[in-house]
């Protein structure tokens, strides 16, 4: 991928937060939120960033959207440096941080949008139509003239999204965009995100919902403790954790010898053991190949009531494996 094809190019970014306590004896504590992040996102794509709470997702989103300076490293968005080319970048990027805050509660949703349309310079002749259009796209037309303080959490979330796309940005940063939305609204938001990509907008999305990332994002990065632990397509990430097939075997009293035998079966890359009271669950990551659930059943044939089922390795499996590995 050449640099000009990249919407986001992050090289070795660190971010350290300092907080000070005390008056006479100042105590400075440092938190390393990002520890050498490298990340590349193609233009016109949806890129998903996953990670546990406190992994640094919002910090990275804020750096990318010019709201925070990196402590070290370089960040280029749409080919421009986020530190030096802020004036060029800001009209071209949209940001949705979401949450209960970030809106003027005492005025209506429409007035909020009008204010930001003016700050972004949405042409006057198309401003009102554009506001009506984005309100319709997030299904908020019916409440447009109500005060925001009367909005539910989900309605506020929708208004955040409407504001983010109001000025037709070339790149949109969405920090957990469907949080607080009911299933129907969340589905419509995902539809909206796909339609934005179809219009050529690059989307950088952080989320906790694995199915959302799997559904929307061809490429995903997993951030843990301020480090990117993996960055690839979902299928490649499955390979990374040992295969796109997962067998789950449940029963009683499996011993180490049987586990060793299972481990030696062709295609088995990894076995995770979990206990649920007396029940043991073995999760086997299996590479594409000949191995079948019956092969596992045969290995565990000496036990009664053994159930073995096969499913596709989910993004959640990948995520948990990688985050756990990083934690260990």
């Amino acid at each position: 991928m050449s640099t000009s094809e990249l919407a986001i190019d992050v090289q070795g970014v660190t971010r350290i937060f300092e907080s000070r306590k005390g008056f006479l004896f100042r105590e400075i504590s440092r938190t390393e939120a990002l520890r050498g992040v490298d990340l590349q996102v193609e233009r016109g794509a949806i890129f998903g960033l996953l990670g546990p709470n406190g992994a640094g997702k919002t910090t990275l989103t804020k750096i990318l959207s010019t709201l925070l300076l990196p402590t070290s490293g370089t960040v280029r968005v749409l080919g421009h440096d986020v530190v030096g080319d802020v004036a060029w970048l800001r009209p071209r990027m949209g940001l949705v941080l979401g949450g209960e805050r970030g809106l003027y509660n005492r005025i209506s949703g429409r007035e909020n949008l009008r204010y930001f349309a003016d700050l972004y310079g949405v042409p006057l002749r198309e401003r009102d139509a554009r506001i009506a259009e984005v309100l319709a796209r997030v299904d908020l037309t019916w409440a447009a003239d109500r005060r925001v303080e009367e909005y539910s959490r989900g309605m506020k979330q929708k208004l955040h999204i409407a504001r983010g796309i109001l000025h037709r940005p070339q790149i949109l940063f969405l920090d957990e965009p469907t949080i607080g939305l009911d299933p129907k609204s969340a589905r419509e938001t995902r539809k909206l995100v796909r339609s934005l990509v179809a219009d050529g907008v690059t989307i950088f999305l952080t989320t906790h919902y694995m199915f959302e990332a799997e559904e929307l994002c061809p490429r995903i990065a997993i951030l843990s403790k301020g480090r990117i632990v993996a960055q690839d397509s979902v299928s490649k990430l499955r390979e990374l954790v040992g295969g796109d097939r997962t067998f789950e075997a449940e029963g009683y009293g499996f011993d180490d010898r049987e586990l060793e035998t299972l481990r030696r079966l062709p295609g088995v890359s990894k076995i995770v053991t979990e206990e649920f009271g007396p029940v043991l669950r073995l999760t086997l990551r299996v590479r594409t190949g000949e191995l079948q659930p019956d092969d596992v059943r045969r290995t565990l044939a000496s036990h009664e009531e053994v159930s073995v089922r096969e499913r596709r390795t989910s993004l959640e499996d990948v995520y948990l494996d990688l985050v756990e590995e990083e934690a260990n």
Partner: protein, 276 residues
Amino acid sequence: MAIANVRGPATYHSSFWRTLWTNAVMAPRTSLGFMRLDFVLGTVFVVPLTQMAFFVFVVKLSGGGASEIAFTAIGNAIATVTYPSVFSVCQTTDSEKQQGTMEHLLVSPTNRLALYLGRGLIPILISLATAAMGLVYAATLFGVVIPLGAIPALAVSVTLTAFAMVAFGLLLGGVALYLRTSIILGNIFLFVGLLLAGVNVPLSDLPTPLQWAGYALPLTWGLAGVRAAIAGESLVSLEWIWGAVALAAIISFGLAMSLWEYFERRAITTGSIARF
């Protein structure tokens, strides 16, 4: 440890003193102004000096002599207590609303008397320090004579004033449950006090309706006690004034409690707790 009690719901009870202590320690930390020692020092050392100097120069311009200057200096030394008492207590309430913690406080079964009284304890201490510093400035910079023998009575007057003012702050803070913010009210009463409490102008110089309004302010009575103590008045006459200050404190606190209860109901009805 079981998360839920399967034998039946547990009923916990926090004692009066535990609630009082928790609020005394916690409330100042939740409010921005008290989180930093430098701002507390600013309130104690800077505010009395600048406010006093300002009004003393006004008195000088209008041709006032030493007794008028002393009157103004003492008045402002005590009036600056408004910042750490009325102003800060109002601000604490605003902070609770902004941080969304007010709803959780109101939904808790905690003893309201301990809750509100606890919130006033640290402001009372800062108020005492501010008034003491103000009197030091008055004595050292503006020629106010404070006899050593008057100090015990003065200490009683100042302490009662601090209690009364914090209770008044809690009263205004209660209004914040209903209004979006109470800090504006705090600001207004800062200046109302300067006019009506006999800080810069003797109450007797004001038109009768304003005098009556002045008597409704705890600061008026607190200040009268301070002036009487400095003037070396007899213990009998001081006791009357102290009684009035204590009464003002009790009434303010009682009203604050009722108002909090009333506005708590109002806020729950109108949903204004979450608005700011």
